[in-house]
C-alpha cells in the first residue's frame, strides 16, 4: 500500500521536500549535539530537562487522538467515526514515533539506549513508559494498517483487529498514566508531586489529541478528496470541549491546594508561572497566554453557534491545542525545576541548536503522518 505515497501532485511533493529540508537541518543540528554533547542546549545542572522532554510529555498526550475516536467507534458503534478512526490512529503512530525520538535526542549517551532493555528495571517508571509506548505504537500501526488493507480489498477488517482495538483503549489510558508517573512520584519536585497528575494528563490528552485531529481533518477537506462530515467534526469538538474543561478544572484544583494551604514550596512554581519569582519571569507570558487561549477555546466550543461555525472551529481547536501545548509542552516541565533543591530560581532558555532539533523531530513526525495519510487517501480514492 506504501506505493500510494509515491505518486502525488506537485503540491504534495513540494510539501515532502520542505519537510525533508527541515529534517536535514534538524539532523545537522543533532550531529553537532552528538559531537559536542548536550552542552549545546540551554539545559543546566539546575534545569536538567528542557524542550525535548517537554515535547515528549506533550506528544504522549496528542497520541490520545486515536483512543478518542476509537472509543465511540469500537465501543459505541458510532458510525460517523468509521472513516476518521484511521486518521486518529495514524496521528497516534506519528506522535509516538516523535515521543521516542525526543527521548533519544535527550540522552547524553544515545548509543547506550539498549541498556534500558539489557538491564530491565521494573522499579523505574521510565522502563514502563518504554513498554507502554512501544506497545501503543505497535497496536495503532497494526490496527490501522490491517483495517486499511482489508478496506482496500473490500472486506471487513478481521476479527482480531477488533480485539486489538479493545486492548488499545485501556492501553491508551496507560500511556498517559505512566508518563504522569514519571513526574508525580518524585519527592524532590513538589510541583509534580501531585496525585491528580495522571488525571490532568488524561484530560489534557483527550483535549489536545482530538483538537489536532480536527485541524488535520479540516486541512484534508481542503487539500484532498476526503471530506470529513459535519457531524463527526461536531462530535469531536464536543469531546474536546469536555476534556478541556476537565483539564482546566484539574489545574485549578492544583492552584487551590497550593494557595489555600499556603505551603511555600507548593506555591513557588505557581507564583513563578503567574507572576515570576525572585525577579525571574520568563514563563509568565506563556502562562497567561495559555490561560487566555484555554478560556477562549472553551468559550468558542461551548457556545453552540460558534462551535457549529466551521470557519471558527479550527481557531477554537488551535486555541485549545496551543493552551495544552504551553501547559504541558513548556510550563509543566520547566516550572518543575523552579525553585531548585536549594530554593533558587534558575531559568532556562533553549538554544538555536536545540530548537532546530525540535523542529527536525516535528518534521519527521509530519512526514510519517503525511505518508500514512496519503496511503489512506490513495487506497480510498482507488476504491471510490
Amino acid at each position: 500500500m506504501l506505493e500510494k505515497a509515491l505518486s502525488g501532485s506537485r503540491r504534495y511533493w513540494a510539501w515532502i521536500v520542505f519537510l525533508l529540508l527541515l529534517i536535514l537541518v534538524g539532523f545537522l543540528a543533532y550531529m553537532r549535539q552528538f559531537e559536542i554533547g548536550l552542552g549545546v542546549t540551554g539545559m543546566s545542572r539546575d534545569v536538567s530537562w528542557g524542550l525535548y522532554i517537554a515535547q515528549f510529555t506533550f506528544l504522549v498526550g496528542v497520541a490520545a487522538s486515536a483512543v478518542m475516536v476509537a472509543i465511540p467507534y469500537y465501543l459505541h458503534d458510532y458510525k460517523r467515526f468509521k472513516d476518521i478512526v484511521i486518521y486518529g490512529e495514524f496521528l497516534a503512530v506519528s506522535c509516538v514515533v516523535m515521543c521516542i525520538l525526543f527521548i533519544f535526542v535527550d540522552l547524553g549517551q544515545p548509543m547506550r539506549i539498549m541498556n534500558v532493555i539489557l538491564h530491565p528495571t521494573p522499579h523505574s517508571m521510565m522502563f514502563w513508559d518504554m513498554c507502554v509506548l512501544f506497545g501503543y505504537l505497535l497496536l495503532n500501526f497494526i490496527i490501522g494498517w490491517t483495517s486499511l488493507g482489508a478496506e482496500r480489498k473490500g472486506f471487513p477488517h478481521p476479527h482480531w483487529v477488533k480485539v486489538l482495538a479493545y486492548i488499545a483503549i485501556p492501553w491508551a489510558v496507560s500511556i498517559h498514566t505512566v508518563t504522569a508517573f514519571l513526574y508525580s512520584g518524585l519527592p524532590a519536585r513538589s510541583f509534580w508531586l501531585s496525585a491528580i497528575m495522571a488525571a490532568r494528563f488524561l484530560a489534557s490528552a483527550f483535549a489536545a489529541g482530538p483538537a489536532l485531529l480536527v485541524i488535520f481533518l479540516l486541512i484534508l477537506r481542503k487539500v484532498s478528496s476526503f471530506k470529513v462530515g459535519k457531524e463527526a467534526l461536531q462530535a469531536l469538538a464536543k469531546i474536546v470541549a469536555y476534556a478541556m474543561i476537565a483539564n482546566v478544572f484539574f489545574f485549578l484544583l492544583e492552584v487551590f491546594t497550593a494557595f489555600y494551604s499556603r505551603i511555600p514550596e507548593d506555591m513557588a512554581a505557581f507564583q513563578y508561572l503567574f507572576w515570576g519569582l525572585d525577579g525571574k519571569h520568563s514563563l509568565v507570558p506563556f502562562m497567561w497566554s495559555a490561560a487566555v487561549l484555554a478560556l477562549l477555546g472553551i468559550a468558542l466550543l461551548v457556545i453552540p453557534r460558534t462551535r457549529k461555525n466551521e470557519v471558527i472551529l479550527p481557531f477554537a481547536m488551535a486555541a485549545v491545542y496551543l493552551a495544552a501545548w504551553i501547559d504541558k509542552g513548556v510550563n509543566l516541565i520547566l516550572a518543575g525545576f523552579v525553585p531548585n533543591p536549594f530554593g533558587q530560581v534558575i531559568q532556562y532558555a533553549p538554544t538555536a541548536t536545540e530548537i532546530m532539533i525540535v523542529i527536525g523531530v516535528y518534521a519527521i513526525g509530519l512526514l510519517i503522518l503525511t505518508v500514512l495519510y496519503k496511503v489512506v487517501l490513495g487506497v480510498r480514492e482507488e476504491r471510490a
Binding site: 554533547g37 545542572r45 527521548i103 547524553g108 549517551q109 547506550r112 523505574s124
Partner: protein, 273 residues
C-alpha cells in the same frame, strides 16, 4: 568464545596478581601496588583485605569547624584532585560538583527562619550526595547505572549510564551533575588512579568508595581536620554514632523520607569539645 566484561576483568586481575605478586583491583579503580593481600567479595570483585566495611556509611558535618574559605577550599580541592572533577568556572551551567558550600538558607531550604541567629544565617555548610537510605535516584534509574551498595553507598556506573538525567530530577538535594560536554580538557591534573568521565553521563559524590575499599577514609574527611567525621551508622561504638548520641544533629529534608546519611551539627554544638 565470548568473554563477558566482568570475566575479562577477573582474568586481568588474575594476570595482574600473577605478575605483580599481589595487586588489588577494583572494577572502578586502576591497580595500585599494595602489600595487602586480596580476597574476592560476593560480587566476584577482588578487594584489599584492608578494606573498611560498614552496614551503613554515614558522615557528620561539624559546621563549627568550617570557619574560613580555606576550610572549604582544602576539602573541595582534595575531592577535585582525587576524582578528576573538571573546572568549568564558577558561573558555568555545566559545573560538576561533588562537595561544595551553600549558605544555611539553601542547605536547609524550607527550614529557613527569619529569627535565626545571624551567625547561623551567615554560615556556610558543605553539601554533597546524602547517600540516602531510600534513594529516589536509584528508584528512577532505568538501567541501574546508579545503585545502592550493601554498605549504604549510592554509586554510579559511568559505563552504563545513558544520560537520561531522571536521577537529577529525582534528587531532592541537587547533588548530581551531568557532563554536558567532554570534561577531560577541563581537568587540571589527571589522577591516574581514578577514572575520568565521558560526556553525557551523570556523576556525584561516591563517599570515596574506591578509598574505603583500600582501607582509607574519604579524602574530604582526611582533609577536613576533624570537621567531617565518617563511620558506620549501624555500629553504636562508631565515631559518628558517638557524636549523634550526644549532640543534636539535623539532616537535609528529612520529611521526604529518603533517609540522608549526612548529618549536620549546627549552631556551634561542635563535636570537638
Amino acid at each position: 568464545m565470548k568473554i563477558e566484561r566482568r570475566e575479562f576483568l577477573k582474568l586481568g586481575a588474575a594476570v595482574a596478581v600473577g605478575l605483580g605478586g599481589g595487586l588489588t583491583l577494583d572494577v572502578l579503580t586502576k591497580t595500585k601496588p599494595a602489600a595487602a593481600e586480596t580476597r574476592t567479595d560476593v560480587a566476584g570483585t577482588r578487594v584489599s583485605s584492608k578494606a573498611l566495611h560498614a552496614k551503613r556509611w554515614a558522615m557528620v558535618v561539624d559546621a563549627s569547624k568550617f570557619k574560613t574559605e580555606e576550610d572549604f577550599r582544602r576539602v573541595k580541592e582534595a575531592c577535585v584532585k582525587a576524582h578528576n572533577i573538571p573546572d568549568f568556572g564558577p558561573d558555568s551551567k555545566h559545573q560538576i560538583k561533588w562537595i561544595w558550600e551553600e549558605p544555611f538558607e539553601r542547605t536547609f531550604y524550607g527550614v529557613d527562619d527569619p529569627y535565626l541567629p545571624e551567625a547561623i544565617k551567615k554560615e556556610n555548610f558543605p553539601v554533597m550526595c546524602n547517600h540516602c537510605e531510600n534513594p529516589p535516584c536509584v528508584r528512577v534509574c532505568p538501567t541501574q547505572a546508579t545503585f545502592k551498595r550493601p554498605d549504604g553507598i549510592v554509586g554510579m556506573d559511568y559505563h552504563r549510564c545513558i544520560g537520561c538525567r531522571f536521577c537529577m530530577a529525582a534528587c531532592p538535594f541537587g547533588a548530581r551533575s551531568f557532563n554536558f560536554v567532554d570534561p577531560r580538557p577541563y581537568i587540571k591534573d589527571i589522577n591516574p588512579d581514578f577514572p575520568t568521565r565521558t560526556k553525557g553521563v551523570v556523576e556525584k559524590c561516591n563517599f570515596c568508595m574506591e578509598r574505603l575499599d583500600q582501607g582509607l577514609m574519604p579524602v574530604c574527611v582526611e582533609a577536613s581536620n576533624g570537621a567531617l567525621v565518617f563511620g558506620d551508622l549501624d555500629d553504636p561504638t562508631s565515631d559518628v554514632r558517638k557524636i549523634l548520641d550526644t549532640h543534636y544533629a539535623i539532616r537535609r529534608k528529612p520529611e521526604l523520607g529518603t533517609g540522608p546519611s549526612v548529618f549536620y551539627l549546627v549552631g556551634g554544638g561542635g563535636a570537638g569539645a
